[in-house]
Amino acid sequence: MDTLILIRYGEIALKGQNRGTFEDLLVRRLEEALRPVGHARVVRAWGRMYVQGVAPEEVMPAISRVFGVVSYSPVLRSENDLDQITASAVAVARRHQSAGRFKVDARRALKSFPYTSLELNRLVGSAVQDACPGLQVDLERPDFTIYVEVRPEGSFVYSQIMPGPGGLPVGASGHALLLISGGIDSPVAGWLAMKRGIRLAGVHFHSYPYTSPKAQDKVVDLFRVLARWGGPLDLYMGYFTHIQEAIEDVVPERLHITVMRRMMLRLAEAIARQSRALALVTGESIGQVASQTLESMQVIGQATGMNILRPVVAMDKAEITVLARQIGTFDISSRPYEDCCTLFVPRHPATKPRLRDAEEAEARMPVDDLLKEAIARTEKLVIAPD
């Protein structure tokens, strides 16, 4: 009898011809996540995986952060032998309260095994009752369920099914660049993109010395948290100071935010093309601020030919906040340091800017030179999980 972790993955098993590739990817992501723990080994078997060689409590936090995992269970494995299976079931039962109700849910996938599923339910149930005098079988309202699976590779007994994060393993969907501000929304947007299998990189725009260097530290700390779900991650510190100054100098105040966001997209696109990203990801959510009206998003989005993903576009602030707390980015996002988005906020930004006005204003700036300089002065960091 030995202990291992059973990993279930739903979605990627459905993906037809790509199934093998996805499974390979999930194995690789699991191995990466488990590397800090040491001797864990990932074994594939017919639509599921097992993690062997480590104590479950050591690796479960890491597994809970691997996208593609639908659920996982610490299980006892034995030979396909009734005595060994009942011994496992008694051991699992003893981890629960000493008095209460339980049921057995057995599945015989190996049809050559001499007992049917129903027979197993009865046999294992009465063996557990005999061994643990406080426990009673109750099929209607059990306090816990003992699952028994008899399969070609062995018999598995467990009672816990922990939810995984779901989604697709990171890398399954290509590479995208997140525009990250330091606020609450963009890290959540990045996390949701990663959840769909995207390998993420980030770009933060700073206007030092108008903004504090601590605003950059904040973004690095946010990326350290995101890197737990599939790092290390590349983070570009985009130099925005001179662009910001140029906007302040020549663009009418009501269009500052519009033009600023358009310039950010252009700089992000340049970085994305260099790093072969296939899309940009933003934390925009409809109606939150002036730049996030449909009219604004339309005008801003036309600054780039790249696909823009907006994973939180239809979420409420409250919903985004709940996710930010779960992911662990909320407290970092709540630190006060300002970035370019909040430092130069005009009093009356346009909520319905017109593309023609934005283009006219931009014609007064040396856009190409500014971008060229900004790209040259942009630094790349590699952020490992904390």
Binding site: Y208, P209, E245, E248, D249, P336, E338, T342
Partner: protein, 396 residues
């Protein structure tokens, strides 16, 4: 090259100072050669005990105290905590009252707020528009159960000197006198301090503000004054501050105090002259400069608090740092959750003047050349930034 000069100009000496070379040498020597524990009976221990005793005399001398009145702590914050809690914890917390004023350092204000949670009553005195309180205000706030008055000597943001001797005199005439604590962290080595002859019972001082090491400070405890310990352990520092002595820090603090004593009062005169020279330059180059530090003897010789509205202080600080001039601000620039300076706010300063405040602080090693160069760099940045921020205001 004069000490302290280099590729940048450091004018943030109220935050911390560069250790004097003699201090750094002493700390290194004690760490590597004379590293005994003063409690050990052998000669290395005796040597360490002698070092601590010598430093105690040096630190005491700068405030005219005797060596048995000095309790070494981990710094000014711990000294303030020990003074306030030590005075309050001698009494039952339910019927105890403390008087402080609103521009005290966070280590005083937050200690008082924590004591309020424990049931202690605290009065926070208002300051006037220049940042001062009066002895009469203190007297008016006293209650029968007042056990402690705590007033700082020099404000860390504005340099304002509170009338400590006058408050001590006013308290001395009372039949049931509360204890009087003075946070002198910014005053030590900068203005004359004489707690014994003034009638001050407790006084906090710190090493790293006078070119000593960080992590070392002291509380002056007037002879025979009972105080409750807030840490418990061995009998070091007469049981008021148990724990193996920080001998490198203490020895370095002693050397720093000795050097400050030698330099005083000439260094103070020189700093004041440089500070006024700096202000004159700034004022002639930018007449709209707002001065939050009073001129003359009402303020310490080393701190100048000014703003250049509408330039945000934090933006100016970052620009100056980029040009190699280090000054500081305590107010985060119009950040929704940032805390503007509680000191300037208590003086009634608000809006762009509050958001624009920067603190320039000199040391006795600051040179006239550094002051001139800094003034030029500050004016250049202010000119550039004021256009940017002023420009936006004009355009609407």
């Amino acid at each position: 090259m004069p000490y302290g000069s280099g590729t940048f100009i450091y004018l943030d000496n109220a935050a911390t100072t560069r250790a004097a070379p003699e201090v750094a040498d002493t700390v290194a020597r004690v760490l590597t050669s004379e590293y005994g524990n003063p409690s050990s009976p052998h000669d290395l221990g005796v040597q360490a005990a002698r070092l601590v005793a010598a430093a105690r005399r040096q630190v005491a001398r700068l405030i005219g105290a005797s060596e048995n009145e000095i309790v070494f702590t981990s710094g000014g914050t711990e000294a303030n905590n020990l003074a306030i809690r030590g005075a309050v914890y001698r009494h039952s917390r339910r019927d105890v009252h403390v008087v402080v004023q609103k521009t005290e350092h966070a280590s005083v204000l937050n200690t008082c707020q924590a004591l309020e949670q424990e049931g202690v009553a605290v009065t926070y005195l208002d300051v006037d528009s220049r940042g001062f309180i009066t002895p009469d205000q203190v007297l008016a706030a006293l209650q029968p159960q007042t056990v402690l008055v705590s007033i700082m000597a020099v404000n860390n943001e504005t340099g304002v000197i509170q009338p400590v001797p006058a408050i001590a005199r006013a308290l001395a005439g009372l039949p049931r006198r509360p204890l009087f604590h003075v946070d002198a962290v910014q005053a030590y080595g900068k203005i004359p301090l004489s707690p014994g002859s003034w009638g001050v019972d407790l006084m906090s001082i710190s090493g790293h503000k006078i070119h000593g090491p960080k992590g070392i400070g002291a509380l002056y405890v007037r002879n025979g004054m009972p105080l409750a310990a807030i840490l418990h352990g061995g009998d070091q520092e007469r049981g008021l501050r148990p724990g193996t002595e920080n001998t490198p820090g203490i020895a370095g603090f002693g050397v720093a105090a000795d050097l400050a004593a030698q330099a005083f009062p000439d260094a103070a005169v020189k700093m004041r002259a440089l500070l006024e020279q700096l202000y004159d330059r700034l004022h002639s180059g930018w007449p709209d400069v707002r001065r939050h530090t009073p001129a003359g003897d009402d303020a310490a010789p080393h701190i100048l608090n000014v703003s250049f509205p509408p330039v945000p202080g934090e933006v100016l600080v970052h620009h100056l740092a980029q040009d190699g001039v280090y000054v500081s601000t305590t107010s985060a620039c119009h950040a929704p959750s940032g805390q503007p300076s509680h000191v300037l706010a208590a003086m009634g300063i608000s809006g762009p003047e509050l958001a624009g405040a920067i603190r320039i602080s000199l040391s006795r090693f600051t040179t006239p050349e550094e002051v001139d160069a800094a003034a030029e760099i500050i004016l250049k940045s202010v000119d550039r930034l004021a256009k940017r921020y002023g420009h936006r205001q004009a355009k609407k």
